[in-house]
Amino acid sequence: MKKFRLMRIVGAFAATLLVGSSAVTSSVPASADSSSFTYQPSHAGGTLKLLASTAGGTLDPQVNYTLQYWQLFQASYDGLLSFHKVSGQSSFDVVPDLATALPIVSNGGKTYTFTLRKGIKFSNGAPVTVNDVKASLERLFKVSNPNAGSWYAGIVGATACLATPATCTLSGVVVDPSTNKVVINLTTPDAEFADQLATPFGSVLPATAPSKDSGTTPIPGTGAYYFKSYNPNTKLVMLRNPNFKVWSAAAQPQGYPDEIDQVFSNTPESEVTMVENNQANFVFDPLPSDRLSQLSSKYANQLHVNTLTAIWYMPMNVNIAPFNNKLAREAVNYAIDKNAAVKIFGGSKLASPVCTILPPGFPGHVDSCPFQTPAGSTYSGPDLAKAKALVKQSGTSGAAVAIVATNDTVNAAVAQYAASVLNQIGYKATVKLLSANIQFNYIQNTKNKVQISLTQWYQDYPQASDFLKILLSCSQFHPGSDNSINISGFCNKSIDAEMATASTDMISNPTAGNALWSKIDQAIQGGNAVWAPLFTPKQIDFVSSGTGNYQFSKEFYMYVDQLWVK
């Protein structure tokens, strides 16, 4: 049957090589806003019941790559840095967490110096020491963290750790227990390093934590909650951390529920019904389409909608027929009605059509829809006649095309619609539906000769490079591998050079940098029609009538620990 597996793709930030060594004194955005949630003790207590149809994998914060558990890790683990725990745009800011202040960046951006706070304890009572910090960074390599080879490969000593993880001693991390200082040395400056430390991957764990993926066994943490038990078939239980005292409400605020449960093995339909009947507080899975109307009429004040910078798109393989022909790709862009795709998703209140690679509201985004008649800044609709003409002109008429998508309801429906349209303009299109567990790696591997597919991309940082560089640069195209996130296989050396320039510009002159990213976006999509972008979705959260204080973080989405059940 239909199962939703949520994987938020965090941009794989390869160490950004800066051209020319500029004397950078600080590449960590200073957080001017130290605001935080005001705690109201009268609402503390009770048990929060979250629903998810399936478990989210391992409880190890240095391995798990799903939003489902990052939502829980943000309340149970802390790193040297963390994302600002407020709502709104500031929730993307980096603030000091276990460190006393933002790091001192020196040595041309290659050395980060932190001072660890005193007096913080793990949930098992042991105090947090600088040795734990060093051990946690080394542990990233020992447990084969997915981004050990990209995000953290810039730490001095990482190369040795990648080769022999079992004996990893990061020479680039120097700690001094007498002064409580932690110094991290990088091989090259990295503008995103602070953000990378702020994610749950950067959590500080006890040095005694096991050197392999801990799986279903919880590891003690410093957060407001700790994991009491975990049965992936039935439920996960979190309780208040008895050793927790608030040291920075901006980084790790006090939580309200005494207990947080995530209950598994119910269907999304049952889950929605349970929240409607106030038998549970929140549904993590996407809401079934046929409940949306009822929900928005009867339970409107329990629905929360937030804009996401994410995109549903159809990458076209530019290296094999028929989409190695630019006219064919343009024809697809002219033919598909983005408003129809929006309708399938649930209507114009839940998604907006998008014609560029960077979604609206994103730095570097410019409103521009080139593939419509007439071209303009907002999407006006398809032009089938023009599309048919382009197909004829391209000489690819009659080609067999297979659209590869996942077999859940919405994806399958969008793919079927697209196939129907491609048939209308002169192709012989079919749909190949694979389970979500297989499809994502399948469409990346060039051996499978995927011509066009349907997929999504969610970002974590408001950085244009996360879309353009990660998804469309030459270094992200690995022919024959299951991990080649440049699904289109688009590789253009001169555009790559411009991307490098833009990355450099972002540090000293973000305005110029974003302007250059816009140009790159236009060049790739407007100039080459590499994708057929469809729409950007909104996040809908449905909470029960007995749940209060809904707060949304752009990084972790709903704050589970800030919900009131009393």
Partner: protein, 309 residues
């Protein structure tokens, strides 16, 4: 007689599906029609309607118009005419359902009778085969096969089997239910074997084949006839599970099973989409059932003599 009549009626309207779709409903049941519209009571109505109440989320296809000229049972989530698809779907479903049930019953009868009659090592071997088939995780095979078919297709000798081939679901479904028919027949045969008239036949020197054909089979046949329509119903439902896993009928083609799958996503708003194919499967199975009873009564000499129904 009623059974036969209903069956002929269903088969006929399904065969006439193209005529209905083309000339009466004027619709293409395989093309998506998300932004399309139709006329109800003289007013133009969008096929997929945006919700306008409350926060305005959700898009719902139109419900049944109860008007044969268009969208009799309403539209599905691609804006296609459900009734037209139902008729087209009948062709695939009836083909897969009856072919696999036929194949299953024939093979199961042969194997069940042999196992029950001969006993000993033959029975032991066949019973183990039945156990393996019955305990086998058919969905694992289906998932695996579907990926193989979708990616490269299967090549067995000169045959190339692609994703939309109906061969494969017929074979798989037939194979999966062989134990279900064979084991009861085996038990029945074991019981019949000890009866006086069989013992007499053996004593009089009849060959095993003759005994199986002339004595056992006619006594086991009524049971097989009872199973057949039940198997047709089961098989049509199993087909829907396999289609969901991309074996058998591929979108945009339809079968009653795939329409049920579509309908499950519309259960709260448009229950008819899932209900109608289920009703069709039920009616087909019931009429086959009645037909089977009639056939058995017609051919069973004892029933005739006793004058019972």
């Amino acid at each position: 007689m009623a059974g036969l009549g209903v069956l002929i009626f269903i088969v006929t309207i399904c065969l006439l599906a193209p005529i209905y779709a083309h000339n009466i409903a004027h619709t293409n049941p395989f093309a998506s029609n998300i932004q399309g519209s139709t006329f109800i009571n003289g007013k133009r109505v969008m096929l997929l309607q945006q919700n306008t109440q409350g926060l305005g989320f959700g898009v719902t296809p139109i419900g049944p118009t109860w008007n044969f000229s268009h969208y009799f049972l309403g539209a599905d989530d691609q804006g296609r005419d459900v009734f037209a698809r139902l008729l087209y779907g009948g062709r695939s479903s009836l083909l897969i359902g009856t072919a696999s049930a036929l194949l299953c019953c024939i093979v199961a009868s042969i194997l069940g009778l042999i196992a029950g009659y001969f006993g000993g090592p033959i029975d032991w071997l066949l019973s183990r085969v039945f156990d393996i088939i019955w305990a086998f995780p058919i969905y694992l095979l289906a998932i695996s096969l579907s990926v193989v078919l979708l990616t490269s297709g299967l090549n067995i000798g000169p045959l190339h089997i692609g994703a939309g081939s109906l061969f494969l679901p017929i074979l798989i479904i037939a194979a999966v239910f062989i134990p279900y028919v064979a084991r009861p027949l085996r038990g029945l045969t074991m019981s019949l074997r000890e009866r006086e008239f069989i013992q007499a036949a053996i004593g009089s020197g009849s060959s095993d084949l003759r005994i199986l054909w002339k004595e056992i089979l006619p006594n086991a046949a009524p049971s097989v006839i009872v199973f057949f329509p039940l198997m047709v119903a089961f098989n049509m439902l199993t087909e829907s599970a396999l289609s969901f896993l991309s074996i058998g009928v591929q979108p945009p083609a339809a079968s009653w099973g795939t329409i049920i799958n579509d309908g499950l996503g519309l259960l709260y708003t448009r229950p008819w989409v899932a209900l109608a194919p289920g009703i069709m499967i039920a009616i087909t199975a019931v009429s086959l059932n009645i037909l089977g009873d009639g056939a058995r009564d017609a051919f069973d000499p004892k029933a005739k003599l006793r004058g019972s129904i």
